[in-house]
């Protein structure tokens, strides 16, 4: 890796100042599980690395009547093991638990998980200068794309790797962001943009912005949630297809539903049409199948990832039935 200066700011403001707005010159460091790999392979070679872990107050999980607050530096292990999260925000606990290996979860943070870059193997190979790295072509589109996107792809087709993002989106979470222009709050869903709109590894943070916290509203009565992820290597792998589902039940029917998928699209994928089908229906096998079919209906597989269609169907169906 290229030599860099390491900064240990003690406040978010100081961090914002050190970060500046040119990501080629400065990068944030949280658990480092994503960043270090990129630095070693020189996918990124910043001059400054700004360590967020020196900032106090960003590593708390707070549960109250209004809802849950998760600091950017909360470790995935803590999230997976927290009793309030397990009791009330099940999808989030399951998503955290499903990430990587024990070691990755012990080091990796919530903020890093949401802000991680594509895991596309072309992106992570220093010698492929693809679209996302300022090049002119997407190598995956006509190349080796068995792990790539079936929904929302083009001109880049990576499959969004974050497990936490779909869980937060299904739980209708808001992100608190600080940046050069001050503070703002945005739905986690809106942290991501399809590559057709913007090529920034999927992330819609403005230059120089830092994710400080994510807030999840308290669960409504009779609501439940789950995250189900399929891994090719069950012990330790990224999502080939995963879904977070959150439903509110009323009189045996779903009165409100939010769904979000990992591993199938360059963003955590929110299937609005499918949510509509789900809302007002009983949670049974027929509904689950309809919802699953609706999600994959608009899919456009590449040469080597057609299998993700039946796979996604299965995962969605099983996740929904597990909530029944």
């Amino acid at each position: 890796m290229k030599e860099f200066m390491l900064f240990n700011p003690t406040s978010l403001d100081e961090a914002v100042e050190l970060l500046g707005t040119d990501s080629s010159r400065a990068q944030l460091l949280a658990g480092g599980m994503d960043l270090l790999g990129r630095l070693k392979k020189r996918i990124d070679s910043p001059e400054r690395v700004i360590n967020l872990k020196s900032i106090p107050g960003l590593a708390d999980i707070r549960d109250s009547q209004e809802g849950l607050s998760v600091g950017a530096l909360v470790k995935l292990t803590e999230l997976a093991e927290d009793s309030a999260v397990n009791a009330k925000y099940r999808a989030l606990a399951q998503a955290a638990e499903s990430v990587g290996s024990v070691q990755i979860r012990n080091a990796g943070t919530m903020g890093g998980n949401l802000c991680q870059k594509p895991r596309c193997w072309y992106y992570r190979h220093a010698d492929f200068l693809c679209l996302q790295k300022g090049g002119t072509i997407c190598y995956a589109q006509g190349g080796e794309n068995r792990y790539h996107a079936i929904l929302g792809g083009g001109p880049c087709f990576f499959a969004h790797p974050s497990d936490l993002a779909p869980a937060f989106i299904a739980l209708d979470a808001q992100a608190r962001i600080v940046g050069p222009k001050g503070q703002r709050s945005v739905a986690v869903e809106d942290l991501y943009r399809l590559p057709i709109i913007q090529l920034n590894g999927g992330l819609a943070l403005e230059p120089g912005e830092i994710l400080a916290e994510v807030r999840v509203p308290a669960p409504k009565a009779n609501s439940r949630s789950t995250y189900l992820k399929f891994k090719e290597k069950p012990s330790f792998d990224f999502s080939l297809a995963g879904v977070a589902a959150s439903v509110v039940m009323e009189g045996g029917k779903v009165s409100a539903a939010r769904l979000a998928l990992s591993g199938v699209s360059p963003v955590p994928w929110r299937p609005l049409d499918a949510e509509k089908i789900l809302t007002g229906s009983p949670l049974n096998d027929a509904t689950a199948r309809q919802v699953a079919d609706a999600i994959v209906e608009e899919s456009v597989p590449l040469l080597h990832n057609r299998y993700k269609i039946p796979l996604t169907r299965t995962i969605v169906r099983r996740a929904l039935l597990s909530l029944a």
Binding site: W121, Y122, H125, G142, G143, E144, E232, P234, Y307
Partner: protein, 785 residues
């Protein structure tokens, strides 16, 4: 890997006096007394009547504590604290699969503070480590003529610097101008007319291996009442040894010492000697501990040559290793194959004909042969086995645990199961019908035990017809590997005045437990506990040559020599103490803690009393591995594995629940180590079946998964329950009574899993790995059909 390490020191054949001895061998429950002819100095075989105190016991690894406490030193561990002035080397590699190198400019790299040596490889097509002295230049700028790189990862230049980060930076500062040339990385494309040619001077990318022919194949198919014909595919695999290739080279005047992670110190030494044009006696290669090779670490290779060349240039010791990315481009791989196979049989299952045509790629290297396994695993009077190597612009293939056999096994075992289905026959019954019967062979018992332990009869309830989305199946495959162990191997055993013993041999322990076996055999022969034996090994400086470790040769090439050396040392000890016991040395025995002549048991010495008499002059004896006893050496190592799997038909996920692995290695020297070999072999085999595949981008000709994230290997969580069953037919082939075990446990695993999956699904997947994408695509295709 086939045995190598026949080195410059091999003694010429000499006239040997023979004697005839008897041995009680085979399985304990059906012993056979055989008469064999052996050289006069050969010891009696440890046979069924031998009472052994150490050999055959679960002796823990003698270096185990050293390893788990981090004290064992690997070549990778060397730092400047160990070797003052140590420099770190790094290799610059081609980012292109095929290109002409038009200019290399290393002036900037050379000026970086801390850079001590820069070498440019600016001649030739491909990089030949053996010619490093001829292809390298020390100029800062070179306009090479005719230098062509032929795979991504090929060596272009190298530097040595004071730290790894300086070396890495220096590499980046070397400017290379490439002109890209057309490439081909897919073997099925490379066979087509008009494909880019990999090796200049060849008219195409093919090399046909002489076919293996038996009987008359046309006649065989005419006699057949049933035939089946299939095409199967297996991917390229990467070794991914825990320790990447690494060597530390140090020159003292004309003498070269290299600490290397290698499977063969002798082979490494000989190649260094040739390459650097110095006598073998001036080269010393040391491998104290090493973190796996699986076939990828024979010979000097680029890492050895470059480390030594940089050290020479810099005038300081240099450590040069590959990182995981480099390892997975340039350190070897298991070739892939496209295998067309046709079987013919009578209605009762008797095979009449076997025809296989296979082609695969070892990249820019050679040997993608897969059919030898098919020629020995089942009895078939008529066969024709044809292999073709296809060159592609990719890293060269290397031996990979049982070269060619797991590939061939997948093809023939899949075909056998389909033939059984066609014949409405039980797949195991079909194997029994065609099993190769050999003297002292226990394959029948192996099949019996495997079927019993896995519960073969439960197969009837399994398969696609169950209501659950998760289907179960059981399948099996036969393990076979030729016996390659034999001479040369030389050992010296020394008995010290404190009563301890030391066994010394140049042989390396590649992680398989060789060190422990040397101690066990020495202890057994001397009548001592294992703790009393020290082992010195992994050092060509010992001059006690031994084979490179591969091809299941090590244990039974060396232990007969160790035993002979121990016996010789003991005889020396008896010579020294005989006068004190007023006995002839040859009349003495060491029993129940005492040395005495049975005729006069009251006059005795304890071991300690006897060795104390040695004073400052310990005794030692040398032992040599004598030739194998025929015809027993011609009998392969046999086994069979049975797999039980679960397949989720809605996600495509295959889980291997259980593997019953029944194997024989003649005498099982240490059951715990036997199990370790089987566990490792099964683990690699299940990885082959389910996950592993090198993936290359066709357009750019690059490996897209040269790492352990996207090249997926099994973790302990995916490991099935492995039940190892040891069958022990003692062989009179050598004085120990054993064969070998390194390769067989990985030969049939993937095939057994594939057969189980085929039973579970009711449809077969003809390509490894059996990953979710393949399973789902196969099931979708069936739905559509």
């Amino acid at each position: 890997m086939y045995p190598t390490g026949r080195t410059s020191q091999d003694a010429p054949e000499k006239e040997v006096k023979k004697k005839r001895i008897k041995a009680k061998v085979g399985l304990a429950e059906r012993p056979q007394v055989v008469e064999i002819e052996v050289p006069e100095q050969e010891l009696p075989v440890w046979d069924l009547d031998s009472k052994l105190a150490v050999v055959g016991k679960r002796v823990p690894r003698i270096e185990g504590a050293e390893k788990v406490t981090g004290q064992a030193k690997y070549a990778l561990d060397y730092v400047s604290k160990d070797l003052p002035g140590l420099l770190y080397g790094k290799t610059l590699r081609s980012p292109y699969p095929h290109a002409r190198v038009e200019k290399i400019d290393a002036s900037k790299a050379r000026e970086l503070p801390g850079v001590k040596a820069v070498l440019l490889f600016d001649k030739g097509e491909g990089f030949d480590p053996g010619k490093i002295l001829d292809v390298m230049t020390e100029d800062a700028v070179s306009q090479p003529k005719g230098r062509v790189v032929i795979f991504e990862g090929e060596e272009v230049a190298a530097v040595a610097a004071e730290s790894e980060s300086i070396a890495e930076e220096a590499i980046r500062q070397i400017e290379v101008k490439y002109r890209r040339l057309p490439h081909v990385v897919d073997h099925e494309e490379a066979v087509k007319p008009g494909a880019p040619i990999v090796h200049r001077g060849m008219k195409d990318n093919l090399r046909r291996v002489d076919p293996q022919v038996r009987g008359d194949i046309d006649q065989g198919f005419k006699q057949a009442e049933v035939t089946i014909e299939r095409t199967l595919r297996v991917p390229v695999l990467l070794h991914n040894s825990p320790e990447c290739h690494v060597a530390v080279a140090k020159w003292e005047g004309p003498k070269l010492t290299v600490w290397a992670s290698t499977q063969g110190v002798n082979g490494f030494r000989d190649e260094l000697s040739k390459t650097f044009r110095i006598p073998p006696s001036d080269v010393r290669v040391i491998t104290d501990h090493m973190g796996g090779g699986f076939g990828s670490k024979f010979g000097m290779q680029a890492y050895g040559a470059i480390a030594a060349a940089l050290a020479k240039k810099a005038g300081a010791p240099v450590k040069l290793g590959y990182d995981r990315h480099e390892e997975n481009l340039a350190a070897g791989n298991r070739p892939n194959a496209t295998m067309w196979i046709k079987l013919g049989a009578k209605k009762d299952g008797t095979l009449t004909a076997l025809h296989c045509r296979s082609f695969g790629t070892a990249g820019v290297g050679w040997d993608a042969t897969v059919t030898p396994m098919m020629g020995i695993v089942y009895k078939c009077p008529n066969l024709r086995l044809e292999d073709t190597d296809v060159c592609t612009h990719a890293g060269q293939g290397m031996p990979f645990r049982a070269p060619g056999f797991p590939q061939g096994s997948f093809a023939i075992e899949s075909a056998m199961d389909e033939l059984a289905a066609e014949l409405k026959m039980d797949p195991l019954a079909l194997r029994r019908k065609n099993f190769v019967d050999q003297p002292l062979q226990a394959l029948d018992k192996i099949y019996d035990l495997g079927a019993e332990k896995i519960g073969w009869s439960r197969r009837a309830e399994m398969g696609p017809e169950t209501s659950s989305a998760v289907k179960r199946g059981i399948g099996m495959g036969t393990a076979v590997w030729p016996n390659y162990c034999g001479p040369p191997a030389h050992c010296r055993v020394t008995i010290n005045s404190d009563g301890s013993a030391e066994a010394a041999m140049a042989v390396q322990d590649i992680g398989t437990g060789t060190r422990t076996l040397m101690a066990m055999v020495t202890a057994e022969e001397l009548g001592l506990p294992v703790e009393a034996v020290k082992v010195t090994m992994g050092d060509t400086g010992l001059e006690l040559i031994a084979p490179d470790s591969g091809g299941s040769v090590t244990a039974l090439s060396i232990t007969p020599a160790v035993r002979a050396a121990a016996a010789a040392a003991k005889a020396e000890l008896f010579k020294r103490v005989a006068p004190a016991l007023k006995a002839k040395p040859e009349d003495l025995v060491f029993e129940n803690g005492k040395i005495f002549a049975p005729a006069n048991p009251r006059k005795s010495l304890t071991w300690q009393q006897a060795t104390a008499r040695l004073g400052a002059t310990p005794v030692s004896g040398r032992g040599e591995r004598l030739p194998n006893v025929e015809p027993y050496a011609g009998i392969p190592l046999w086994g069979a594995q049975f797999a039980e799997v679960e397949v989720d038909t809605e996600t495509g996920l295959v889980r291997v629940l259980r593997i019953v692995a029944v194997h024989e290695a003649g005498r099982a020297l240490n059951p715990a180590m036997f199990e370790s070999q089987v566990n490792g072999g099964v683990m690699m085999g299940v990885g082959y079946a389910l996950l592993e595949r090198r993936t290359m981008d066709q357009m750019e000709g690059r490996v897209v998964n040269p790492n352990l994230e996207d090249y997926k290997i099994l973790s302990s969580f995916e490991l099935p329950e492995i039940e190892t069953v040891i069958v022990e037919p003692i062989t009179p082939m050598n004085n120990i009574g054993g064969k070998g075990l390194g390769e067989p446990p990985t030969v049939p695993t993937a095939a057994a899993v594939a057969n189980a999956v085929a039973q579970a699904l009711g449809v077969r997947i003809y390509e490894l790995p059996l990953s979710p994408d393949r399973v789902l695509e196969t099931l979708e295709a069936r739905k559509e059909a």
